[in-house]
Amino acid sequence: MNAKTLEFKLPALAENIETATVTKVLVSVGDAVAVDQPVLEIETDKAAAEVPSSVSGTITELLVNEGDTVKVGAVVFRATGQDAAPAPKADAPVAAEVPAEPARPAEMPAPVEPDSAGPAPAPKRSGAPGVAAPSVRRLARELGVDLSEVTGSGADGRITADDVKAHAAGAGAAEAGASGPGESRTTSVESLPDFARWGEIERQPMSAIRRRTAENMARAWATVPHVTQFDKADVTELERLRKEHGKKVEAAGGKLTVTAVIVKVLASALKKSPQFNASVDVAANEVVFKKYYNVGVAVDTERGLLVPVIRDVDTKNVTQIAVELGALAERARNRKLTLDEMQGGTFTVSNLGGIGGTGFTPIVNAPEVAILGVSRSQVEAVFVEGGVEPRTMLPLSLSYDHRVIDGADGARFLRWVVEALEQPFLATLEG
């Protein structure tokens, strides 16, 4: 086996993700790397993740720095190693082999000529979708717009200044320039007062997750007519069962949480009420009903809100869901979630009960059409058959997209969820 120069390029991370911000470089020049060894921590619009190497060898050249925005396919590092890189799997990082001694065509300068040696990146020239004139490219940078996300309105997809402005306006308040060395950014749509006039301030760049959350929330808030329906479930019995069976689930490696039970109940509720497992296609004037049931669970992490998705909850039992939920939450907090694990949700649950509160109005995780908020359960005095009994009551709030869900349906859906929590048998009977 010959020593070869291997290139490790930023692999395709997920559909529609073309760039990622490097938050941490885990290796340096001279390090030996092995296949599957994490080499970068990145943040994309949608997630923070670790990128494992697909090559093994000794790093000779590292081409990315922390803070860089790197395109999918860009070379991350070069290494010398044996040409034993495993055949790349689909979606797995791809290693391109380049001969250690590049063949020099006749036209190329001789080695004594530094002409061949410049590290300045060769300007990319061809093919890239969306032709944009230099002034438009600069405008995009000023407005913090990634041109690869802009659809050009001109002939052959040419991107005009107006396209860039429209895109920036659409992204709402979340849009901001990449941080320059002075950590400053261009002004956003609305200019702010000079806060420093009234006291000390500190500015911090928004992380990619924060920016994406801001964009999504603003868009959902602006486009989805929200209604929030409140209800309370008597979970006294459920709590008893939860304690009783908790050990079994623990043995399986999970924790029997209220959230896990709710996710299972939702599987049945969504099957029963398909309009809650749908999306609105405004352009086509159609409602898209999904025949799969993937429930996202909002997880509060150090770096912001992440929503890992538990797939096909209708085919899993509560124990399986509890185990999977525990693992996903753990991965979210350790920044190990892959983009795939955060895509494809059809409904979202946000449980803030661990923190407290009596109720809140969650914002629909568009393009989904509904979200269930869970607050802290409390023992309340409840009138039961003429007497007063201490019952554990769980406050629930369901926000939904009023374009496709009517008020009565919303109330019915939440009632059903409440009843299923109160009488677990119902879910198996009707769901």
Binding site: N65, V112, D115, P121, R125, A132, E142
Partner: protein, 484 residues
């Protein structure tokens, strides 16, 4: 747009201190932009005035000499029209003085522009004490410490020497001493057939030297497409004593009559030859040592280039680098553009160095110019392209000039017809290439050029006709139908 950048950052830029090491086309462009954005700028250079290599001992003096050479060649060629002049008499003192006047006028003008902008110009050699502290040593040994928020390194490059073949001799020239034109040697060997060697070789050949050019690779002008270089080679062969590709120098010794050079052609035996003078023009090396970069986090490649990102920021967040010291192409206009980008980024704008095309011009006669993708690069990278060529034999304007030694070529994307590259050889090619750069930057397709009316009779029409040829036929060229 420019105004916008300025508006959004002037407030905070006001307090920013920025030091720039080197006042070449990169450094002074950065300094001027930074000052215009309201920053407090210190510009440091070894010379009394800004200008760097380009103005003091590069682009500008060489272009004066090349202009004179062109006047002489045009005068000689006028015999074709029945007009003949007496052989030229050259007053070399006057020639050197006029050249110096041009340099003096340009550099002192830059000095004035920099004073008008309230830039502190410090003369001396700068090095880093740490990322934000510079020490500047003047010629007389006086030292000055400059504290700064950001530094832009624009220290440029210097001529490379043949490894292990340095002679302490006035007969051995580099581009700097060759431009001084101490005399016109009877015979001159130019080592290296790149643009600097060919430009200077052409000057000396026109002024009367027997010039021999040796080039290690297969043809002249490594980097340019061979079909363009071939047309220049033909003219060079007439003007010069000999041009020898695939030839390298293996040894040099000073002998009584000159410098004895061992020349090895291909795999053959090295043969000695004696020349009055030898000009070494094998490329340039970045000035990255001696700057005290060890005291910073700046990283340098094995070839000595400073590593930078698209904003021209080095691996040290307080330090930027631009121009020849960061890599190819080592050209003045690339350095200036980078300088403006770096200044704007420091001012808080999200500017980046992201050209789609950088023009390269060789100011020989005929000139050779290209930009964007070359055919050779496309071949090397396996990029599918369409290439159309328009030989200047079919150009009316070229005929009126009796300069049909030219070729225009356009390289396009076969799927979209987008212009990816352009190459021109011929008189005036350096001016013509601007259209190619604009076409590429604007994302023009071949028919955008073909449908734009070009004045007749001009050489620019060749570009319009070449663009038409992408689709098969141009007005003045007939191509029998065949696939390409």
């Amino acid at each position: 747009m420019r105004r916008k950048v300025k508006d959004t950052m002037s407030d905070e830029a006001n307090s920013t201190r920025i030091a720039i090491i080197g006042a070449g086309p990169g450094g002074y462009a950065a300094a001027f932009r930074a000052a215009d954005l309201g920053m407090r700028v210190t510009l440091i250079d070894l010379e009394a005035n800004p200008g760097g290599v380009c103005l003091h001992r590069g682009c500008i003096p060489s272009k004066v000499l090349l202009h004179v050479a062109k006047v002489m060649n045009d005068a000689r060629d006028a015999v074709h029209w029945g007009v003949s002049f007496a052989p030229p008499e050259i007053d070399f003192d006057r020639l050197r003085a006029s050249k110096a006047e041009v340099v003096e006028k340009m550099t002192s003008g830059l000095g004035q522009l920099s004073r008008a902008r309230k830039i502190a110009f410090v003369r001396g050699r700068a090095s880093f004490q740490d990322s934000t502290v510079l020490r500047v040593t003047a010629d007389d040994g006086a030292e000055q410490v400059i504290e700064t928020d950001y530094t832009i390194i624009a220290s440029g490059s210097r001529p490379a020497w043949l490894p292990d073949m340095y002679l302490e001799s006035p007969r051995l020239l580099n581009s700097t001493s060759a431009l001084q034109m101490a005399d016109i040697p009877g015979s001159l060997l130019v080592v290296g057939g790149g643009y600097i060697g060919l430009e200077l070789g052409m000057v000396y050949a026109t002024m009367g030297s027997d010039v021999t050019v040796v080039e290690m690779t297969q043809g002249l002008l490594p980097g340019a497409d061979p079909d363009l270089a071939a047309i220049l080679s033909r003219r060079m062969e007439e003007l010069m004593h000999s041009i020898r590709p695939n030839t390298k120098v293996t040894a040099m010794t000073e002998v009584e009559q000159g410098i004895e050079v061992m020349l090895q052609s291909g795999d053959g035996e090295a043969v000695p030859e004696v020349f009055d003078k030898v000009l070494v023009s094998i490329g340039r090396k970045p000035n990255s040592s001696g700057l005290g970069l060890d005291s910073t986090k700046v990283e340098v490649t094995d070839d000595g280039f400073i590593r930078v990102d698209e904003h021209r920021r080095t691996t040290d967040p307080r330090i930027f680098a631009i121009g020849d010291v960061v890599g190819q192409p080592m050209l003045a206009h690339k350095a200036s553009h980078e300088g403006r980008v770096a200044a704007e980024v420091i001012g808080g704008a999200n500017s980046a160095f992201e050209p789609l095309a950088i023009p390269a011009v060789v100011f020989t006669d005929p000139e050779v110019a290209w930009c964007g993708l070359t055919e050779a690069e496309a071949k090397r990278d396996g990029t599918k392209v369409n290439v159309a060529r328009f030989p200047w034999g079919a150009s009316g304007r070229a005929a009126t000039l009796h300069r049909s030694d030219g070729l225009t070529k356009v390289i396009t994307d076969p799927d979209t017809d987008r212009v990816l590259g352009m190459g021109i050889v011929g008189t005036g090619a350096g001016e013509l290439i601007a259209e190619g750069v604009l076409a590429i930057e604007m994302g023009a397709v071949a028919s955008d050029i073909g449908l734009s009316i070009h004045a007749h009779p001009t050489l620019s029409e060749t570009i319009m006709e070449t663009a038409d040829l992408i689709f098969g036929q141009g007005t003045h060229v007939y191509r029998p139908r065949a696939g390409h």
